[in-house]
């Protein structure tokens, strides 16, 4: 089809507003819509947002859970910075988390068999090996998506979604089959690991220093790599224009596979932390959908890792605070999902409009 759609240059000048207007306009519209939806569900919008944010920070437990969520979210988001910058929509991040968790569980079960009374190796070493295995599992799943995309010419979106299903399928098979709890096969997961294999926490909360450390470290590395290395530059070049990057001599395939590799690595670490730090066992939805949340975070910050931390913190708080909706307001907590989704949707819309129409 010929390009008969009017391009930006044919728009009347009235449309050509500064980018900020589009972005803030979209935000305002999204807030109004959210308010309307909350009103329709019979509550006060101010109260809902207030409760959700206050409900994320009013007890040490809540803060701990925000930090635990943030740790996993940071790992996913840091990994996604690479794929997004390479121009890839790696929806397979969820499967990479899941498969990392499976690999971690596998190694922990190997080193601490069900009938044993103690770990075969010193527990810290066992945990470390488990986390390493998680990273490798994530890498495997990431590279699988990468190979399907680069060599099989399958859209990475569909490759990723397919591999998500596959990873969940494997997890469910293991939980209901070979790894089921003695006497019980249940969606609640495998038998919890011995407490010696749990990551230490901050006090009695659920936040683990190791998890938070890994998340922050991953983000820091990502910031440095994306801003200060040739690798990061090549990745951005491939993401912005794969053909031109190729013409300029950037090995595009290698870069794409590297992005899948690193994203898989970080996502696999996230899965490992979910196992040894959060759930202490393998459950079917081990990722807690934090991979998808990571996608939203990275899209919101326009793929710039510098802004990942504050936005990820905000969404972690929203995620934890959403439990207040059924508890104190008698509201369905999927309302939090609606709020989150609308915020992201309109932020993206604002960005898209700004890119397309804004006066430079």
């Amino acid at each position: 089809m010929n390009s008969t759609i009017p391009s930006q240059t044919t728009l009347p000048w009235l449309w050509r507003l500064p980018a900020l207007v589009y972005r803030s306009g979209a935000l305002i519209i999204s807030l109004l819509l959210i308010g309307l939806i909350v009103l329709l569900s019979g509550a006060s919008p101010i109260e809902v947002i207030g409760r959700m944010l206050v409900g994320a920070v009013s007890t040490p437990d809540q803060i701990g859970r925000v930090v635990a969520t943030l740790s996993t979210l940071l790992l996913c988001a840091a990994g996604l910075v690479y794929t997004f910058n390479a121009g890839l929509y790696n929806l397979g991040v969820e499967g990479q988390v899941t498969f990392g968790a499976i690999a971690t569980t596998f190694v922990l079960r190997l080193l601490y068999p069900e009938e044993a009374t103690a770990s075969l190796l010193p527990p810290p070493l066992t945990i470390a090996l488990g986390i390493l295995a998680g990273a490798l599992g994530g890498v495997l799943w990431g590279l699988l998506a990468g190979a399907l995309h680069v060599y099989g010419r399958i859209s990475e979106i569909f490759a990723g979604l397919g591999l998500n299903f596959a990873a969940t399928g494997v997890a469910i098979y293991l939980i209901f089959g070979p790894w089921k709890r003695p006497g019980v096969a249940s969606l609640s997961g495998t038998q919890p690991f011995d407490e010696s294999l749990w990551l230490g926490t901050f006090g009695q909360t659920e936040a683990t220093p190791v998890g938070l450390g890994l998340g922050l470290l991953a983000l820091l590395i990502t910031i440095v790599v994306m801003r200060n290395t040739y690798f990061g530059l090549r990745l951005r070049a491939v993401g912005k224009n794969q053909y031109a990057a190729h013409v300029l001599g950037v090995p595009a395939r290698q870069q794409l596979l590297s992005a899948f590799f690193i994203c898989g690595l970080f996502a696999g670490l996230a899965g490992a932390i979910q196992v040894v730090g959060v759930f202490h066992r393998l459950i079917p939805n081990i990722s807690s959908n934090l991979g998808f949340l990571g996608l939203l975070v990275v899209m919101l910050v326009n793929f710039d890792p510098l802004w990942v931390l504050p936005v990820a913190l905000f969404f972690s708080a929203l995620n934890i605070g959403s439990l207040q909706l059924p508890l104190s307001l008698g509201l369905e907590s999927s309302l939090a999902g609606v709020i989150q989704g609308l915020l992201v949707l309109f932020a993206l819309l604002g960005r898209g409009l700004a890119q397309r129409y804004a006066a430079s």
Binding site: V184, S188, P326, L348, G352
Partner: protein, 424 residues
């Protein structure tokens, strides 16, 4: 512009879809306004220990695994908690339902309990076997809070899994006799002795329930129908969970259909959802002489009343009321309670741990037999957990004349000899 923009659009559409989906889900699963239960009103017992209304209310919380309107296990617990609120003044009840990783990712049962305790709850009830780890974790973390894990055994001193946690108790309705009655009704309703059961997942609880049903069926087939026990075919197919999860469990619709189509004239449901009733109704409309028996929900006969043999259902109200009262007056100690039915009046909401409703398809003559059977179970003249009984693999479970202990029943390792279907 081109490629990434299309991706962007696809993704935006994806997000939008999610938003719409959750928006649609929201109103539908709003917690139902607390309507008064159908329980006959009794004068509220005046509790000497209950504080006057002006004081801080006593709050207890319930962590519920599924939706509170599931017409099964979760609704029964929810109604039980509502019953407590009706019976006691100045008692408040908080709950979060659908606490499972599929419905609420990133939320654990213990986290919900933490939240409720932070809001002042003094008693936390976990309503599913799935919460055994969460219940223990919560009890350890909050030693001043009473934690009840329904259906568990961590507080059973004589049990295998006793944890010695002083503030963690268990409550379970003793449904095994209910299953015997169900099995009996099914045998009475069957002409050819082929009884199929749509089972959930395999664990100790479901093994003992299925075995109890078989014992009831065999007794009534032999003693009331005067038929040879060898003619009785009792088969169970486990779907893998309490309800259908496409792609994960077997499809209960198909399992029920398979029974009806391969000449089983009675199908017992042991899952939370009504596939056995619905497929049975279709089979009956197609001219097959089939009947079904339902489980866990009082209205279980409603989908197809004409072919319903009966339903046994949980009644958690009295059990929870007792616990709350004792926590209120400070006399609660962590125990494992296997709550008994009221044999004098099975359907009494204030006294019985489970109830039984007969269905239309049973028939007047069989009703007499069933009443006789219930009476026998109640007065101890009929004891079915009694030797000689063998396990499915032929090994001896109970010797001649030996009566099973509670432990032997609770931790039943296998199905019984004569039953078809996997034990593990």
């Amino acid at each position: 512009m081109n490629r990434s923009n299309n991706r962007f659009k696809a993704l935006a559409a994806f997000t939008l879809l999610g938003v719409i989906a959750s928006a649609c889900a929201a109103p539908q699963s709003q917690p139902a306004p607390s309507e008064p239960t159908a329980a006959p009103q009794q004068p509220a017992p005046s509790e000497p220990t209950a504080a006057p209304p002006a004081a801080e209310p006593f709050i207890f919380g319930m962590v519920i695994v599924g939706p509170v309107n599931d017409k099964g296990w979760n609704e029964a617990h929810f109604k039980g908690a509502q019953y407590v609120v009706e019976k006691l003044p100045n008692v408040k009840f908080e709950y979060v339902d659908k606490v499972n990783p599929a419905d609420r990712p990133n939320v654990k049962g213990s986290q919900v309990a933490d939240e409720m305790i932070a809001k002042g709850a003094k008693l936390i009830i976990f309503n599913s076997d799935d919460f055994k780890d969460d219940a223990l974790e919560t009890a350890k973390k909050h030693p001043n809070i009473v934690v009840i894990h329904a259906s568990g055994d961590y507080a059973w001193k004589e049990g295998k899994n006793y944890k010695g946690q002083p503030n963690l108790g268990n409550l379970m309705s003793k449904m095994e006799p209910g299953w015997m009655i169900a099995g009996c009704a099914s045998a009475l309703g069957s002409e050819n002795g082929k009884i199929g059961t749509v089972g959930p997942l395999i664990n100790e609880e479901t093994r003992r329930y299925a075995s109890a049903a078989y014992l009831g069926a065999r007794y009534c087939w032999e003693n009331y129908k005067k038929r040879d026990p060898k003619e009785l075919q009792f088969k169970i197919t486990w779907i893998g969970f309490w309800f259908n999860i496409p792609g994960v469990t077997l499809d209960p619709t198909k399992v029920a259909d398979d029974f009806y189509n391969s000449d089983f004239d009675v199908v017992m449901s042991a899952i939370d959802t009504p596939e056995a009733a619905i497929q049975g109704k279709k089979a009956a409309e197609a001219g097959k002489a089939v009947k079904y028996h339902h489980y866990s929900y009082k209205g279980g006969c409603e989908p197809a009343p004409d072919i319903c043999l009966g339903v046994h259902y949980y009644n958690w109200g009295p059990g929870y009321l007792d616990i709350v009262k004792r926590v209120l007056d400070g006399t609660y100690t962590a125990t494992w309670t296997w709550a008994e039915p009221d044999w004098s009046d099975l359907n009494n909401p204030d006294t019985s741990a489970f109830g039984y409703l007969k269905g239309k398809a049973l028939g007047a003559e069989n009703e007499k037999f069933l009443d006789e059977f219930i009476k026998g179970l109640g007065d101890g003249s009929i004891v079915l957990w009694k030797g000689p009984l063998n396990f499915q693999d032929g090994s001896v479970f109970l010797k001649e004349g030996e009566v099973a202990t509670d432990q032997q029943i609770w931790y039943l390792p296998q199905l019984l000899e004569g039953m078809e279907g996997p034990s593990k």
